[in-house]
Symmetry: D2
Subunit: 353 residues, 4 copies
Amino acid sequence: MNTFGSTLRLTTFGESHGAAMGGILDGLPPGIGISLREVDSQMARRRPGYSGMTSQRREPDRVEFLSGLMGLDNGALVPLSDTTDKALTLGTPVGFIIRNTDRRSADYDALKDIYRPSHADFAWERRFDGIRDWRGGGRSSGRETVCRVAAGAIARQVLEQTGVSIRAVLTAVGTATDPALFAAEISRAAEENDSVGGIVECRIQGFPAGIGDPVFGKLQQRLAAAMLSIGAVKGFEYGDGFAIAAMRGSEAADRMRAENGRLKFSSNHSGGIQGGISNGEEIVFRVAFKPTPTVGWPLETVNRNLENVTLRASGRHDPCVALRALPVVEAMAALALLDAALGDGMKFAPSKR
Amino acid sequence: MNTFGSTLRLTTFGESHGAAMGGILDGLPPGIGISLREVDSQMARRRPGYSGMTSQRREPDRVEFLSGLMGLDNGALVPLSDTTDKALTLGTPVGFIIRNTDRRSADYDALKDIYRPSHADFAWERRFDGIRDWRGGGRSSGRETVCRVAAGAIARQVLEQTGVSIRAVLTAVGTATDPALFAAEISRAAEENDSVGGIVECRIQGFPAGIGDPVFGKLQQRLAAAMLSIGAVKGFEYGDGFAIAAMRGSEAADRMRAENGRLKFSSNHSGGIQGGISNGEEIVFRVAFKPTPTVGWPLETVNRNLENVTLRASGRHDPCVALRALPVVEAMAALALLDAALGDGMKFAPSKR
Amino acid sequence: MNTFGSTLRLTTFGESHGAAMGGILDGLPPGIGISLREVDSQMARRRPGYSGMTSQRREPDRVEFLSGLMGLDNGALVPLSDTTDKALTLGTPVGFIIRNTDRRSADYDALKDIYRPSHADFAWERRFDGIRDWRGGGRSSGRETVCRVAAGAIARQVLEQTGVSIRAVLTAVGTATDPALFAAEISRAAEENDSVGGIVECRIQGFPAGIGDPVFGKLQQRLAAAMLSIGAVKGFEYGDGFAIAAMRGSEAADRMRAENGRLKFSSNHSGGIQGGISNGEEIVFRVAFKPTPTVGWPLETVNRNLENVTLRASGRHDPCVALRALPVVEAMAALALLDAALGDGMKFAPSKR
Amino acid sequence: MNTFGSTLRLTTFGESHGAAMGGILDGLPPGIGISLREVDSQMARRRPGYSGMTSQRREPDRVEFLSGLMGLDNGALVPLSDTTDKALTLGTPVGFIIRNTDRRSADYDALKDIYRPSHADFAWERRFDGIRDWRGGGRSSGRETVCRVAAGAIARQVLEQTGVSIRAVLTAVGTATDPALFAAEISRAAEENDSVGGIVECRIQGFPAGIGDPVFGKLQQRLAAAMLSIGAVKGFEYGDGFAIAAMRGSEAADRMRAENGRLKFSSNHSGGIQGGISNGEEIVFRVAFKPTPTVGWPLETVNRNLENVTLRASGRHDPCVALRALPVVEAMAALALLDAALGDGMKFAPSKR
C-alpha cells in the first residue's frame, strides 16, 4: 500500500538513503498547464535547511520528470528540457524521481540493530520479517514526503486554475499559540537538544459545493486519511473539531439564508463540509504534529538482541517537524481534494496555450 | 464509493425509509465460528430507544443473513434457520439486509424542499444533480450505521478469537467530563429540546505487533478514515493526540527496555502505533461527536426555491448521538483492524467445530 | 473478490441454495430513468425452463430492489411499489435480492463429499480450507449469474439512452455453424444425456469513440475480464481474433478515409477498438462456451476421502449453457462498457421525467 | 489506469521517446532473493534487435533499480551497486527506470498530425482531448512492455523459488504451424515489407492448487486481463479454448481417480483451472497476436485536418511482434499468478542468505 487516492492516484517509492525517491501520479486530465518552476518552489519550502530552524541535511531535491508532461513552445508540444518551465499534462502518468544526493549512510551504522524510541524500527521488523533498511529510517523516513510535495505541487496548480487556494499555517508550537513566540519556542527546544510539537491549520478557499461521497468517501474522511498518512501527525479535526463536543446543537447548527437569490451560511461550524460533501464554504481543518522523537539526549531503549542500551542520536534532526510540514499538509490536501473532484466528475478545462 | 476496506470490504446500501438497509461483507476467511446472537446483541446496543436517552424510532433491526454463513449442527454444516446461533463462515461474501419496518415517510413531506441546517441536504443536491430522497435523510441518515454494526459484529468476533478486545466509552458529554454527570447533561439537553456533543475513547487490547503499512496504509490512517466516515464525527486523535503538540520530544518518546527477554515499553504516548504499524501495546484513540443539528427549536434556513423559511423539527431525534455511536465506533474499529490484519497476511485459524 | 468494475462496481453474493442471491450496483449517475419491466424481461431470458432446451429448474427470479431507485409519478419521486415500472436512479447504491425459491437441497446430499469432474468442487476445497456449500454448486453455481443479468439490465438501459445497443447471438453450437441446425444439435445432445458447447458473438453499436485506457485499462482487457468471469467461458477474441494471427499486416490494417468531412474506416479488423480505446466502429467479440460437464452418464471421479467412485448426475442440467448465456454475455458487456464510459468521464444526461 | 494487479501491483509510466520508461512494483514479500543478472537476461530477450528478425531499434534497456531491494554480501544487507547480482526484497515498493537512450524523435515529425491505420492515434486523440505525444507512438508504443518484463522478471523469480516454471512458445506464425517454418515465414514477410501475426502458447508448471477466486477474480479472468492488456493481442483461450465449443460434455469432462492416495486427473481439458481456481495441473493458455500494422507499403489514411493522405512508414518495425512478445507473455503471466497467489494468502518463505 504505497498508493494514495482513487481517481487521481499517487504511488511512491524510495528509501531515505537509497538511490532515489520517486513516484507516479496517475489520473491527471490532459491539457492542463503546469509551471515546473512552481514545483521547484514547493520543493524548496519543504527542504531541510530551508530556514535556520530545520534539520541540516542539504539536498537540492530537484524533481526530474520522466513522463506525462511535455514542454510548450508557442503553443506547440516540445520535449521537456532541464530549463522547461511551462509544461502541459498529457493525461498519461507523470513519473518522477528525486535523487538522494546526500547519502552519508555510514552515519547510521550504529543504529543498524537498535530500535529508536517512538520510531518505526521495532514495529517495522515485526511487519517485514526482520528485514529493515536502517539507513536514516529507510522507507519510514520523513524524506518520503518529497514525493508528496512534488505530486501535490502539480495537483494544486490544477486546482488553482479553477480558483481554489490552499494555505496552511502554524497555529501552535509547543505551548505557544502566539505566532510571535513560535521562533523563540523552536530555538529554545533546539538549544536544549530537544524538539517541540505543533498544530497546523489548513484553509481551502474556492472549492466548489457538491464534491464528496455521502457514506464511505466523505470529504472529511479523505482529508483525515491524507493527514494521518503523514508520519508525525497524531490528530485531525475539521470545522469546530473537538471543541464542538462541548457545544449544544442549537449553537453548532449553521443557519442558512437567501440573499439576493443566493444561499448564504451564517456560520461555518461545519468547516465547509456537510454530510461528507463540500458546501462551498471555506474548508478548514487542523492537524496535530508530535515533536520528533529524535533528540540530543540519551534515551533508554533496546537492540535487536533484546539487550538494554542507551541511544544518543548524533545525526541531524528537526526541532519542529510541524514547521517543515506546512507544504506537506498543503500537498496532501491538494491531492485528496483533486482526487475527490475528479472522482465526482468535475471537469478541468484544458489550459489556454 | 459505498465500500470500506481493501482486503475485507464492506459495501452498504439503503435509504432510511426505503425497503431495507443492507450490505455485503467480502473477504472473510472460511471456517470461522460466528454467534448470530452476538450480532443481535450488538444491534440492540445501537438501536434507537435502547435507553431512555436516545431517539424514539423503534425497530427490531433484525439482521437477515442471506449468504456466506451456514449453521453448525454437531460439527456439520446445515442451512441457516431463524433460530440459528452458531454459524460458520464459508469464505464467500456475507450478504445481509435489515428491513426498514418503521417507515412513516409522510412525516417527512414537509421537509421535501427544505435544506435542514448542518445536514447534508443542500450539499447533497449539488452532488446528485438535485435528486434527493428526502425521507428521514435518505442515504445520509444515521440509520445507515445499522449495516456497519451488523458487519462489525462479525469482524469483532473474528478478532476476539485471537484475543483482541475492542471497547469504546464516553469520556465527555457536552461540558461534562465526569461520567457521573453524563446522564444529567443529556437529560438537561433533551428537556431544553436541544442536543449535546461528546467524546468517545476506544481502546483495543491484544492486537498483535506488526500490522499496518508504513506509508499510505498506516494503521492510524485506516482508523481515522473509519472514524471520519461516521456522519457526526468532527475529529480523530490517537495516543496523546492534540495534546502531544504541546510536549517536548524527550517527554513524548516511548522508551523501551528488555525484561526477562521481552521488550517492554515504559509509556504509550504513541497509542500502540509507531511508523504506521502496531507495536503490540494498547491501541487508544478518541473521536469527537457533534451535537445533532436536529433540535426542537425553530431554525432559520432556506428551501429549494431559495426562499427564507423557519424550520421547527417535529420528528424524533437523539439528544446525544455520541451515546448511540459507541457500538458504531467499535464496529468500524473492528472492520478497519481486521482489514489491516488480513491484508498483512495474518492468519485466522478455522474454529473448532 | 466478488466485485466487478472500477467506477461502476457490481458486488454480488449468494449460494445457489441459500436464502437469496443479491448484489449492490454502485456508481450509477443520478436521475436516469429505468424500466423495471425491462429488468424483468432480461431476467426471463436467462431463466432456466425459458425454452424447452434449458434446465428445468423453475424460479420466478423476481428482482427485489431495496435501494437506489425511486418510482416516478407525474415527474415526482414516490416510493417503489411492487407494480412500479418507471423508476429513477438516485445516484446511491442499488441493492437488490433474488430469492432462491426452488431449494430442493436434499437432492444434493449424495454430492456432499464427491468432487464432480470439471466442476469447481476439488479446487474449491483447496482454496477454502475444505469448507464448501455442496448444494447445487453453492457459490460456484451458474445461478450466480442472475445478479449479473439484474445489474446488467440497468446498465444497458443507461447505455441505450445514449444510443448504444448490445446484442449477442449464437454462431456455433457443437459442430454446427448454421443457425438452422442449432436446435437439432441441442436436442440430439439432450436425448443422448449429453451436452454441447457453443460460440457466442456479441456486437455493440453506437458506442462512442474515445473510451478505454491505453495501457492497463484497455477496453478489450475489460471485456475479456468480463467474459472470462463467466464460469463456462474458455476463450475470448475481438475483431478478427485468432484468425488475424494468420494474416499479413497489410491485409489486417484498417485504412481510413475522409468523406464529407467525416472519418470513415474501410474495414473493421480491429473490432472497434484500437490501442485499447474505442474508435466509434462496431465493437465485435466472440466467446467460447464449454459444454456443461454435468451429463447423464456415469463418470469416474473421487470423493473427499480419495476413494474412486462413479457419479451419475440425476439432477437438472443444461444441454447447452451457451444458449442461456446470451443475456449474461450482454449483461457483462453492458457493465464493462458503462464502467469504462463513466471512468473516462462520459456524461449521462438526466432522463426527462 | 496504469496499474495491474490487486495485491501485487505494477504501475508503469513512460512515453516511447520521453526521458525514461519506469514503474513501481508494490506488494512483494520481504526477504526474497532476486538475481539482477536474471532480470538483465529477461530484458535481453525482449530487446529489439535481439535476433535478426525483430525491429532494429537498439537500446541497452538496462533496468536501474532505485528502491525496494538491497544487495547481499555474506548474508548482510548492503547498498545496491552497478555490479550487484544477488539482491533481497525489502518488502517496500521496487521503483525502477529504463532510460530511453535511442530517441530519434525527429524521425517522427512527419507523423505528428497523421492517424496511422490500426494504431491508437485516432482513438487516442478522442480519449485525450486532442493531446498526443506522436513520437514513436508515445505511451501507446510497444516499448511500454519493457516495464512489464522488468517487473515480471522479479515476479517469476519469486514463483520459481516455490517450484513454478513459466514458458511461452510460438505455435503459429502466419499460416505456418510447424516451428521449422517459422523463420522462413517471418523472413518472407520482412522481405515483402510486410508483417505476420502469430499464436503464443504459455504453459505453467508447478503452480499449486487452490489459487483463484470463484466469481469475479477467476484465475482465467486475471490471465485474460493480463494478456489482453498487451497491445497486439486479439484473443485468449485456456485449456481446450475455442475448440471445446465443438465438443460434447462427456468428452470434455476431466475425470479424476485416486492412485496411491493421491488424486489424479485423466485429462486436462480444463487447462489447470476449474471454477476459477487452480487445480494443480499444468496451466495452459494461448494468445493470438496480430501482425503489426506498420508495414513498408503505402497505406491510405487521414490526418488531423481530415484530409486523405497516403502513409509510407519509413521507420523500424517488427515483422512479427509475436516473436518478441514471448518474454512479455511470460512476464504478465508471472505478475498475474503471483498477484493471485499473494492475494489468496500463499506464503513465500524468506530466501536463505
